[in-house]
Point group: C2
Chain length 355, copies 2
């Protein structure tokens, strides 16, 4: 049996659960490597993956005997088969943060068990990355760095935000990415004032500030990078904000390591913002892994101890509505004694010439 499924079975025993129904495809991929649609069911006796005709062949190609996962075609199961998966009134864990209210009711009816909330059991385990996972994230970050370095040399007269975004995607895929970790943000001029701007047909021109928020996905794992550059010239007004944001990022980077309470670090940053009368428009970071946003939360809302081998972003940003905004972001690995940037491209003032 693979180590992650074995880990889960041990957890279920500790929690006095008779099994678990895993429906979140991200958790299924994490536990089994499978990306096909289906439901993973862990019982005391066995591990079952229920899929359908579209995926049977591909699932059987991926799994080996060592996986100890039995594959069923949902079309070939009747209601008694489902009722026989567990013993009636077993205590069975489910993902209350993924399963809809409608499916919760269906599960009760289908499996005839007591459904027990598992409080992010698998999501919390996903915080601590395995060595193989760290390698994949590192590779995703390398592709992202390269894409940024490529694009800032290849923005040509007349290109729109959409053109630039497309060139980034093309470069990432050519360089081994599965695809994008998320839709790229390429915002220019006044469009940078919106933290989540979508690339438009606006043409990049002299005097522009350009905000990038980009990330490649590599073998299912994400990376995340934000940079700001300037076209032909850098207006004086940009410098103060740029320096402030960069400094905030450095302070967080210097504070984060294994055992630190995230809440306190974020509170300090919020104080800095308040002193400057800047608005905190979004969180200061997030965990990264199979999902672009996953645990841990980088927030001052509650106590939250940072752990070794977590992957997080640090991304302070300041936005002047209708005028411009600046956000700088890197992906970091949390170590025993420090917090190490995996994305590595330059954070110097970068003033490009239009090719």
């Amino acid at each position: 049996m693979n180590v992650k499924v074995k880990w889960l079975k041990n957890q279920l025993t500790n929690l006095k659960l008779d099994g678990m129904i895993i429906a979140n495809p991200i958790n299924i991929m994490y536990l089994t490597g499978l990306t096909e649609e289906g439901i993973l069911i862990i019982t005391k006796k066995e591990n079952i993956f229920i899929t359908d005709g579209r995926y049977i062949e591909s699932v059987n190609t991926k799994l080996t005997i060592d996986d100890e996962i039995v594959v069923y075609n949902s079309k070939e199961l009747d209601k008694y088969d489902y009722q026989n998966i567990f013993t009636m009134n077993d205590n069975v864990g489910f993902e209350e943060n993924y399963v809809t209210y409608e499916n919760y009711k269906k599960y009760l009816h289908t499996y005839m068990v007591n459904l027990i909330e598992t409080e992010g059991l698998i999501e919390n385990q996903r915080i601590i990355k395995e060595p193989e996972e760290l390698d994949l994230i590192q590779k995703a970050c390398e592709i992202t760095d390269k894409a940024f370095e490529y694009i800032i040399k290849n923005i040509k007269e007349g290109m729109t935000e959409k053109d630039v975004a497309f060139e980034i995607e093309k470069f990432m895929i050519k360089n081994g990415a599965d695809g994008l970790a998320f839709d790229s943000i390429v915002a220019s001029g006044e469009n940078t004032s919106m933290p989540h701007a979508v690339p438009t047909d606006r043409i990049i021109r002299k005097g522009d500030i350009i905000q990038f928020d980009i990330g490649a996905k590599y073998k299912g794992y994400c990376s995340d990078l934000s940079r700001v550059i300037f076209v032909e010239e850098m207006k004086e007004e940009y410098k103060e904000l740029y320096d402030f944001v960069l400094n905030e990022q450095a302070r967080m980077e210097n504070s984060f390591k294994d055992g630190v309470n995230i809440k306190n670090v974020v509170k300090d940053r919020e104080t800095d913002y308040k002193l400057k009368n800047y608005n905190v428009a979004h969180s200061f970071g997030h965990g990264v892994g199979i999902e672009i946003h996953e645990l841990p939360m980088i927030s001052s809302k509650k106590d939250n101890i940072l752990k070794e081998n977590s992957i997080i972003t640090i991304e302070p940003g300041v936005y002047k509505p209708g005028r411009f905004g600046i956000r700088i972001e890197d992906t970091y690995k949390v170590n025993k004694t420090n917090c190490e940037s995996i994305t590595k491209c330059s954070k110097n003032y970068t003033i490009i010439k239009l090719a």
Copy 2:
């Protein structure tokens, strides 16, 4: 107030509900045009969109006074503000097919109301497309047709499935698409035996069969097209399956129109498959709109009457595990008296030369 929000308010009155919480971003986009993260709340008195600092500026740019939607920043609301949105113990609809069990419990606690299941109220309304929606889907289909016609003339010696998929995406975006309606399937040779194949690094070569399943998204609306082509030659074994699949599609197309029970039409197709000893590996079609898969279901499981101005696909496919598969799919508009294909590219045997 816009017509769709007005429609919803009338429905809530009919259902004796005091309001509704809409959390599904697809339904929010359908009702308001907003694509920003947030929750739409309809009460007797007003319409509220609760978002956060990342989106406030962009939401306020999109909405006009005529929309009659009040925008709040969630960061500025405390628990009493939430409790004052409704009157205690109001009967408030929610999307039980979208809201997780965890959020269902949070809603109960936050709003102090009775939550009532709305049984796909908005999803069912989305089946009947408005004229503006039909125009957008038509445009998405045109781009998809053009992309297919372009790619079959531009597959070059040495290109992989991934290369071909990328050229399709590039063409669609250059021709006005927002992006892809879904990840393209480009499967060649034995890879076609899996209905949901992901493009690989396999190089296209002489004698190959290639399965395409592609679709552009245009201003938020999807299209869906599947075609099979042959490289340099068409092996005899492909013909029987190709003709069978094409014929099944034609039969469904001829049967579908306003008022027809989908179940009966699909049952007839299942009989055809049984007679040939073919396996029904996936459904024969699906509704299309803002989502690539939406209502109506094209299934024999229950009675389901087809309605005028629905958009559906018809996509019979047959798969020989480990060998090859063939699926042909078009996007159709359901009319009073017929079912009309909106994707229009050729379904003749297509044998390409590698450029």
